[in-house]
Symmetry: C2
């Protein structure tokens, strides 16, 4: 039951983000969310890459495109950066979230309450609330954080 | 355990928001998050009022200041609006979240999975995932959504 609730919270944010990104034309995706701030396309790649990495964080799969980490995770947006095309990012977004969905629906409920790979056994003993499901809840909040920024951009 | 995880997610966002708001001077709180968008102080009142109303939504308590709904929930920010002072909003923020915390820690685990007041018995039968705890998860995402916007404002 709680796993279903946690996944519902995740899915709600991903569905919402998908709709928000899809509402922009390819050109509009290059708009910054506010003057001098990240462009929408950067946040598109940022969330997709972070969620690609999530498979490894949860110990459930492999990171498809670790080469994107330098562009979308380790560095802020930069107009000089050689970004993947919008078409590539759209495919990437869909693939990553389809993979995660497949992994999530097939994970036995008990496994959600196990330690994830970003923490040690010792830390987990001290704080068993920081399990796989709590990582997904935290990532859902992270998606909402960036949707809030993107929603500041007016679409015509 | 599930309840603790959900509340941890909520508390994390509230603690983060509290720190974010407290980092601004009284004057800085009147800065819009982006040109022509809501001012930080509006979002301060917006979240506090929404969470004040949450006590009634959850069927756990009474709304302290329903008179704030017109300013902070039913209308967007407006420089002509007669906002409460920063000092009043700080007290309100602290009071509302202290009250919620008190209610949350004392609610028996089973009661978290009961219907909340914003839905009918019929709807709840169809979708028991939409219980009190799921409302709190959703409100945590809503907090993250606005923190993302506020973090666009540079502090000196």
């Amino acid at each position: 039951m709680f796993v279903k609730m946690g996944l519902a919270s995740w899915n709600l944010q991903i569905d919402r983000a998908t709709k928000v990104f899809d509402a922009f034309s390819d050109e509009e995706l290059y708009t910054p969310v506010a003057p001098g701030k990240n462009r929408i396309i950067y946040l598109y790649g940022h969330l997709a890459t972070y969620h690609d990495a999530l498979k490894e964080t949860l110990g459930l799969g492999k990171w498809d495109k670790p080469q994107y980490a330098a562009i979308f995770l380790q560095n802020p947006d930069n107009v000089e950066a050689d970004l993947p095309s919008v078409a590539e990012l759209k495919t990437y977004w869909q693939t990553v979230h389809a993979e995660l969905n497949e992994l999530f629906v097939n994970l036995p409920a008990a496994d959600w309450f196990k330690r994830h790979n970003a923490m040690t056994d010792e830390d987990f003993e001290k704080d068993p609330l920081r399990n796989r499901l709590s990582v997904v809840l935290s990532r859902a909040n992270h998606v909402a954080y960036h949707i809030g920024q993107i929603k500041l951009v007016k679409t015509s």
